[in-house]
């Protein structure tokens, strides 16, 4: 009887642990308060702010597959670009410019692409997977370049005209409407991501990342789970791409480029992989530094970001948030006698 009691107590403790893990903390309000405060403090930087929020959604989508499922990709821009082109072409060729449905259409197309490519690619590992993701994104870029009639090719897709949000709010010149729009979309995406990573499904992804052989052994349908999260991630990246197309009313091949796949990876790593809020901090730091430093000298910026990467990889594996955690732990330990 004692054994059963013991087991029950232990499973109760485990349940309490997971509930505590998932419950909201006060500190989690911080980024949202900061985002709202930024609107009033830096009203002149709302265009940049909107691009940062879009980058946060994109980085969050990458965090789902990289940070939780451990899928390393050098071609995540494929889905961002697919979303951007889908949204843009819906408006430019079919004349549909309702922003929310057009953005969701971008997410849908990117999600479909993610499902198909994920189904094929996620059977591979290591360097082969890296090369396949990289080549797939470039393949899509070259295809968009060749399909000039549809995508505008090298010159970019023009003629995108987006209707006012809810039929009321125009996309103003200062990007104020779109800042709120992007913030709202980010909040919904974040709720989804947070729910996913704390769900049994999300925990099984972490299991796959940590020890794939054991997950096979306990009967987890590994490939199916990976394809599922890859599809969700691709759809979220597509939504970010759709927002990007709507806010700029212009799409170029650049949305599919290796530089964009690399940049989002760097943003996430600098912020902190596998910890939702890393996807918030990274793009803010990256894009503000880029905006400021590239004005001074592009070489300076490029050297700086290279050095930052090397330092993060060698000394701060958890990115900036990881470093902050380590610092907090050290302070706590220091205070104790």
């Amino acid at each position: 009887m004692n054994g059963l009691e013991n087991l029950r107590a232990r499973s109760e403790a485990a349940r309490a642990y997971f509930v505590a893990r998932e419950s909201w903390r006060w500190s989690e309000a911080l980024p949202w308060v900061a985002a709202i405060a930024a609107f009033f403090v830096f009203p002149d930087y709302m265009a940049l702010g909107t691009q940062i929020l879009i980058a946060v959604i994109f980085a969050l989508s990458l965090d789902l597959i990289l940070g939780y499922a451990g899928i390393i990709t050098l071609g995540h821009a494929a889905y961002f670009g697919a979303g951007a082109y889908a949204t843009g072409m819906l408006s430019a060729h079919l004349g549909w410019g309702e922003p929310i449905s057009a953005m969701l259409f971008g997410g849908l197309i990117a999600g479909l692409l993610g499902f198909v490519s994920g189904w094929v690619l996620l059977r591979y590992h290591g360097l082969t997977l890296l090369m396949l993701t990289l080549a797939t994104a470039i393949l899509l870029l070259e295809a968009s370049n060749a399909a000039e009639h549809w995508t505008g090719g090298f010159d970019g897709l023009v003629g995108i005209s987006i209707w006012p949000l809810f039929g009321v709010f125009e996309n103003d010149l200062w990007g104020k409407t779109y800042y709120w729009y992007a913030l709202g979309v980010l909040f919904l995406c974040f709720l989804c991501a947070r729910r996913i990573v704390h769900s049994p499904f999300g925990r099984s992804l972490v299991g796959i990342k940590s020890n794939v052989a054991r997950m096979h052994a306990v009967g987890t349908p590994v490939h199916f789970r990976l394809v599922a999260i890859y599809t969700i991630s691709a759809a979220m990246a597509g939504i970010a791409g759709g927002l990007f197309a709507e806010s700029n009313a212009y799409v170029t091949l650049d949305v599919l480029s290796f530089a964009r796949s690399g940049a989002v990876l760097i943003m996430l790593v600098v912020g902190g992989v596998g910890r939702l809020y890393g996807a918030f901090l990274g793009p803010v730091v990256f894009l503000i530094l880029e905006d400021e430093l590239a004005k001074l000298s592009p070489e300076f910026w490029q050297f700086g970001i290279g050095l930052l990467l090397v330092v993060v990889v060698l000394f701060f594996r958890g990115g900036l948030l990881g470093a902050a955690d380590a610092l907090r732990d050290r302070l706590k330990r220091g205070r104790r006698p």
């Binding site: 090369m131 370049n145 490029q302 050297f303 990467l309 990889v313």
Partner: protein
């Protein structure tokens, strides 16, 4: 008919010259990746260093072309040693993500440093008279410099084959590629092999970078622009396989050149489609070990 034949010969010739360039630069990457299992995206940066070392040697120190080419390779090989000792070595046991990020960081830093030192535009070097002009091979004439590149490429292939198959160091490297732990336990100093292979690979990349100036051009973006091509040669050929790198470079070089001549808008598409197709069927590459 005559014209089509001439065009075919010209495409094949340019393709092979380009392929040899890709081979010289990438083969070192193939060996180091096969040996150390390091996803190194910074290999092109060493090729770029070689190109710019050649520029400095020739223009500032007025060293003649051929000695400068050899010297540039040696200099870059020596420069690469501390990179392996102090940076790469720390990450041999880490995952691919850390390796990719570290090497991308190094590419950015090299690119920025070279832009700062040499400016952002394309550079050139004075090629000696005996390498300029055309050579008549009976059925057609060919640019001497490209013939020189092809000869160097084949010479490297033969030298590497001899080095790997017929020398004791080569046998040790092959042993370490096949099974590092076993090689270590029979007393092979794998650490020393790593340094040697890394320096050798970087030196060859530098040689390729020097040769590339006259064929595909050299600018601070070289490492990033051709990064994908070097990786394709390695992945399609198979990690650690010299023969694989040679064949993959030939396929890539000839198809890419043909694509640029025949279908300028969509030629590159074909390369990537082929790469994906080959890797889907043979994930370990054409000549890689399963």
């Amino acid at each position: 008919m005559q014209q089509a034949l001439a065009a075919t010969i010209s495409i094949l010739f340019d393709g092979v010259a380009y392929a040899m360039l890709l081979f010289i630069i990438s083969v070192g990457l193939s060996i180091t990746m096969g040996l150390m299992g390091f996803a190194n995206l910074a290999h092109g940066a060493f090729a770029m260093m070689g190109g710019y070392a050649l520029v400095s040697l020739m223009l500032t120190l007025s060293v003649p072309f051929l000695p400068a080419l050899a010297l540039a390779a040696v200099i870059v090989a020596i420069i690469s040693i501390p990179f392996e000792r102090f940076l790469y070595r720390k990450l041999y046991k880490s995952g691919e993500l850390d390796q990719v990020l570290l090497s991308i960081g190094l590419v950015f830093m090299t690119t920025a440093a070279i832009t700062y030192l040499y400016g952002p535009s394309t550079v050139s070097v004075p090629v000696p008279d005996f390498l300029t002009g055309q050579i008549d091979l009976g059925f057609s004439t060919f640019p001497t410099y490209r013939i020189f590149t092809i000869v160097v490429g084949f010479a490297m292939m033969i030298a590497l084959w001899f080095g790997f198959e017929r020398t004791i160091v080569g046998a040790k490297i092959r042993a370490a590629v096949d099974n590092r732990r076993m090689a270590q336990s029979i007393g092979i100093d794998v650490d020393k092999l790593f340094v040697l292979a890394f320096a050798l690979g970087s030196g060859m990349a530098a040689l390729g970078g020097g040769l590339a100036i006259e064929i595909i051009g050299m600018s601070p973006n070289f490492a990033l622009t051709y990064l994908v091509f070097f990786l394709i040669v390695v992945a399609v050929g198979g990690l650690g396989s010299i023969r694989g790198a040679f064949v993959a470079a030939l396929i890539l070089g000839i198809i890419d050149t043909a694509g640029k001549y025949l279908w300028p808008d969509g030629g590159a598409f074909f390369i990537y489609a082929l790469t994906v197709a080959i890797l889907l069927v043979k994930p370990e590459g054409l000549f890689g070990k399963a």
